[in-house]
């Protein structure tokens, strides 16, 4: 018993030291776990529910959705992923212009879809670790509609807990966006500057 206690105590001290050392490393600061991933999405959904039941005119709602996206999503990672291989050759200035334009575009595009949720509500039902991140599972209840499955992928690799993908009834936002942005870029002969200019009006 005494032995055990000692080992346990020493174990604790070592563990505490290791944790302190890890804390000093330039690793993601936020400790992501099922509960914090769930809390993030609970907050994001709370904001979404507020917007879809606010009765505001559409352009104001799109702005609100853009704000939610900017607050809870890892927009730079999503934008880079959506731009795909073209992001590799882009300058830093192009990337930041694209990320900004893309954030507005997403707010409007998905804002229009979320507009159809007016009068409905979304609730988190489960959260679990999945590969190197967390999946938060929510259900959307719309009027006169069978409930449907909405999943949020959350990571802290940006240094903060943020979501980087949404899966709606199996439809993967990042995958869909990658394909669409690639097509948009191809239409413009691979010209990222033109894409940025056009995204602002889409």
């Amino acid at each position: 018993m005494v032995m055990n206690d000692t080992i346990t105590r020493r174990g604790l001290v070592v563990a505490a030291g290791a944790t302190a050392l890890l804390g000093l490393l330039p690793r993601p600061a936020a400790a992501l776990d099922t509960a914090s991933a769930r809390a993030l999405i609970d907050m994001a959904i709370g904001d979404v529910n507020k917007v879809i039941n606010s009765g505001k005119p559409e352009p104001a709602m799109y702005k609100d959705f853009e704000g939610i996206f900017a607050r809870y999503a890892d927009v730079p990672a999503i934008a880079r992923s959506a731009l795909g291989p073209a992001a590799r050759g882009a300058s830093a200035g192009q990337m930041s212009a694209f990320t900004k334009a893309y954030q507005g575009y997403i707010g409007r595009k998905y804002g229009r879809r979320f507009r159809e949720f007016i009068g409905g509500r979304i609730e988190v039902v489960n959260a679990k670790p999945l590969k190197s991140y967390y999946e938060v599972i929510s259900v959307a209840h719309l009027q006169g509609e069978a409930p449907f499955d909405l999943r949020w992928h959350v990571s802290n690799k940006s240094g903060k807990d943020l979501f980087f993908n949404i899966i709606i009834e199996g439809v993967n936002m990042l995958a869909t966006e990658r394909e669409e942005v690639a097509a948009l870029l191809k239409q413009r002969g691979g010209d990222i500057d033109r894409l940025v200019a056009d995204l602002k009006t889409m």
């Binding site: 890892d74 990672a77 999503i78 880079r80 992923s81 795909g84 291989p85 992001a87 590799r88 595009k109 229009r112 879809r113 507009r115 159809e116 999945l130 590969k131 190197s132 991140y133 599972i137 006169g144 069978a146 499955d149 999943r151 990571s155 690799k157 980087f164 993908n165 899966i167 009834e169 199996g170 439809v171 993967n172 990042l174 995958a175 869909t176 990658r178 394909e179 669409e180 097509a183 948009l184 191809k186 239409q187 889409m202």
Partner: protein
């Protein structure tokens, strides 16, 4: 949509031949689209878009004037007629609970819901558990096959196309309904489709008319959603990692 006995018989023959062929040469589904007939599919897609623009969308706008409760009643009536076929497929898939659910739903809505116009069963906890022959074929191990865009029907796969034809051929309601009953059933189906087109017009329009590549978007949405419906992706499925993207490990999407 317009069914005729002769076409239906010919269809069954074609289906049997297709099943035999597909059984031999079915490649496994992957995260990447299996679309060897893309050039032809794109032509069909252009045709379908033209059909939507010229006919379906304007007709659905007209139908949209009909009061919502009436639209819903017609939609309910049409969906109720699908239930016997769904029960048949539930049984073929060896899914007793869903078969019982859908059979109970059919009886309740037919008897107490004015032949299915109202939906008391949902309130009683018997929601529609939709299925189709494509799912039955999946249940028996038939692979998805190549992606197909069907004229008038839209996105599908080789397996789901066979399923669609079998659904038409084996639908118990289609077999029993004669004369005016059959006309009413077909009419309700058409109106129900128009109602759906109207109801989801924002989403459908954004995919068909606002996308840079509406063909590729429709293909991706269909395949991902279909695999999810069949339990091949999402949550507890064995292949739950399908299509999983890590923008941190693979920022440029090369994998």
């Amino acid at each position: 949509m317009i069914q005729n006995k002769g076409i239906r018989k010919a269809g069954i023959g074609a289906v049997m031949a297709t099943i035999l062929l597909a059984g031999c040469a079915a490649p496994p589904p992957g995260p990447i689209e299996n679309d060897p007939n893309e050039a032809l599919n794109r032509k069909v897609h252009a045709f379908n878009k033209g059909l939507d623009r010229a006919l379906l969308r304007p007709a659905s706008d007209v139908y949209g004037v009909v009061p919502n409760p009436v639209q819903r009643g017609i939609g309910n009536f049409a969906a109720n007629l699908d239930l016997p076929g769904d029960v048949l497929n539930n049984l073929l898939q060896n899914n007793g609970p869903d078969a019982a659910n859908n059979a109970g739903r059919f009886v309740i809505n037919t008897v107490f819901g004015l032949a299915g116009i109202l939906d008391p069963a949902s309130v009683m906890g018997l929601p529609h558990r939709k299925t189709d022959f494509g799912e039955t074929l999946h249940h028996y191990g038939m692979a998805e096959g190549a992606y197909v865009e069907l004229p008038g029907f839209g996105p599908s796969t080789e397996r789901d196309t066979v399923g669609l034809i079998l659904d038409f051929a084996l639908n118990p309601v289609g077999k029993l309904a004669e004369g005016d009953d059959a006309k009413i059933a077909s009419g309700a189906k058409v109106l129900s489709k128009l109602g759906d087109r109207h109801r989801y017009s924002g989403t459908v329009d954004s995919i068909l008319y606002d996308s840079a590549d509406s063909y590729a978007q429709a293909r991706m949405l269909y395949l991902q959603n279909r695999r999810f419906e069949l339990g091949q992706t999402g949550g507890d499925a064995a292949g739950a990692e399908d299509g999983f993207i890590d923008p941190y490990e693979d920022p440029y999407g090369n994998e």
